[in-house]
């Protein structure tokens, strides 16, 4: 795939190490990566290969030790905690393996939460939440609590929550790992469909072979380095 636009996410020579007691564990060793708008990029590799670390750095919830990271062509080094939070709020959606919905909020409130945070007007929020819930097929469950939903339904709520604010980048960590194969297929279709509809780029960490096939590109990581790209 060739791209003429600038990448949404750009990593250059990114290093990250973790300290476990007296041991220093290299998690990433000079990773370069570009992700473009509307693209779905899978990160694969064994446990400890650096997939989650890349997600954390790209999602601005962790900081690299060395290298450059740009989100929407803006270097993120040196961002204050508040600025990083506001950038996440505006530009990044998260889909977690175990859904991470807020149990005291209804389905609609979970989806509405990112819009509430970024100050979207009430009426616009209502319209967008309903549209997103309709898109993921959960409008009739809008007033239910997450614990009343199945695993697949919860992940659809999580996807709706990640996409409702029309983010530039969606970070998804093993989004199908907790789902059966049929539900996983539905969730993948939904991610692709909604991602394309909103022009969001997806950065997905996965072991799921079916998910790999549906992504535009896949990068295989090993010991914190890119082993192959397809």
């Amino acid at each position: 795939m060739s791209h003429t636009d600038a990448p949404v996410l750009r990593l250059r020579g990114v290093h990250k190490t973790y300290r476990l007691g007296e041991h220093v564990v290299p998690a990433l060793q000079g990773v370069d990566l570009d992700l473009y708008a509307g693209e779905m990029l899978a990160l694969t590799g064994p446990s400890g290969s650096g997939k989650s670390t890349i997600l954390n750095l790209a999602g601005l919830i962790d900081q690299a030790d060395a290298g450059q990271i740009e989100l929407r062509q803006r270097p993120i080094e040196g961002l204050s905690e508040t600025d990083a939070t506001l950038l996440r709020r505006d530009a990044i959606g998260f889909v977690f393996q175990s859904f991470n919905l807020v149990p005291v909020m209804t389905v609609a409130e979970n989806v509405d939460y990112p819009l509430m945070l970024n100050g979207t007007p009430t009426e616009e929020r209502r319209v967008r939440v309903n549209a997103m819930l309709a898109a993921v097929g959960l409008l009739e469950h809008a007033q239910h609590r997450p614990d009343a939903l199945s695993g697949g339904q919860r992940q659809r709520v999580a996807i709706a929550r990640a996409l409702v604010k029309r983010p530039t980048l969606v970070i998804a960590d093993e989004p199908t790992a907790s789902l059966d194969s049929h539900t996983a297929d539905q969730v993948l279709d939904l991610m692709r469909e909604q991602g394309h509809a909103h022009g969001a780029a997806f950065l997905i960490a996965t072991h799921d072979a079916r998910l790999l096939k549906r992504c535009d590109r896949a990068i295989e990581l090993l010991d914190g380095q890119i082993r192959s790209e397809a």
Binding site: I61, T85, L86, R89, D90, F94, Y113, N118
Partner: protein
Amino acid sequence: MNLNFRWLQFAWRNTLRNRRRSAVTVTIAALGTAAILLAGGFAIFTYESLAQASARTTGHLIVAKPEQFSKDEDVPLQHGLDGADALKTQLMADDHVRQVLPRVEFSGLISNGDKSTVMVAAGIDPDAEFAVKGPFLKVSAGEVLSSAERLQVMLGSGLAKSLKAESGSSLTLMASTTEGALNALDVTVKGIFSTGIPDVDKRLVYTDVATAQKLLGTQRVSTLGVFLDRMDATVPLQRTVAALLPKLQVQTWEDQAVFYRSVKDLYNRIFGALGLIIGVIVVFVVTNAMAMAIIERTREIGTLRAMGTLPSQLVTSFALEGLVLGGVGAVVGALISLGLSVALMLFPVQMPPPPGRSDGYPLNIAIDPTLYAGTLLVMLALAMLASAWVARRTVHQPIVDALAHT
């Protein structure tokens, strides 16, 4: 929907996640609030009762020569007031003044012919005194004094017992005159009373002003007690009277109420310490409940932070949970206190006599809006601050660590 209301709604729902823990927290906050309000209400009732009793005894304002308040007398009424009637007329001109009562204070001996004992006596204007003060003495035998009669006395019950006197008995009062000579007057016992303080009842004698002045050989009075239409007029009237009578000194009832000040000082310390202890307990309970809730929700905190929630917003959210817990507890505690206070009004409970007293008193709890508002606000503030303090560390921990929390 209003954003603040939405946060409050989430806080309310979060408190219901672990109902047993929230119930324990609310119960302790309620009991703490009720304890503070009941103790505070009891203290306020005691202060008000003592204040009214003090003002009723001396008058809201006491007018005398400055030396009367600061120096001992070499002879009776050395520092007494002349022209008491003219002064009374001047003072009565103010609309707030209900009555001005002269008082002649002296000491001497009282005898039944066989036995003499020390007395502390007060010459009063009986009709005006009883009209203004109401039944301030508990008359156990005979009747109260009358302004129309002279050479009559009322004895404290202990003194009457000591002198084997009863209503109608003849006694002799002996005292030094203003010239330093010893004078004696034969008097008749009109009645026997009790002040509720046995030590006072063993010495106290009331007679009328004219009899006292005749015994002491003077037309002076010791003080003039100024009785006002309401307590809160005391301080403004003090300034007015002081300006009206620049050569005299005007004290308030509180200046003379040593017992009132002592009780207030003691109760303030006792109930202040009690309030502090209860406050600390409430803070610990709320802190403990919130700490458990926050640990359980660490991963959720990480999720909310990842989605772009500022740490300050999460701290506010947890403070609102504290507000809900503390608020519900405080309101329940206030209702408990209110219910008990009203119940004590409807079904009076008599307390045993305090040390040094012979009479008990009804247990009453004042319902003071300021106390209620202040206590509720303090409880809310403590619960909010405790919750925010506990939350602040967790919401600032690295998001990656919070998301990995199990």
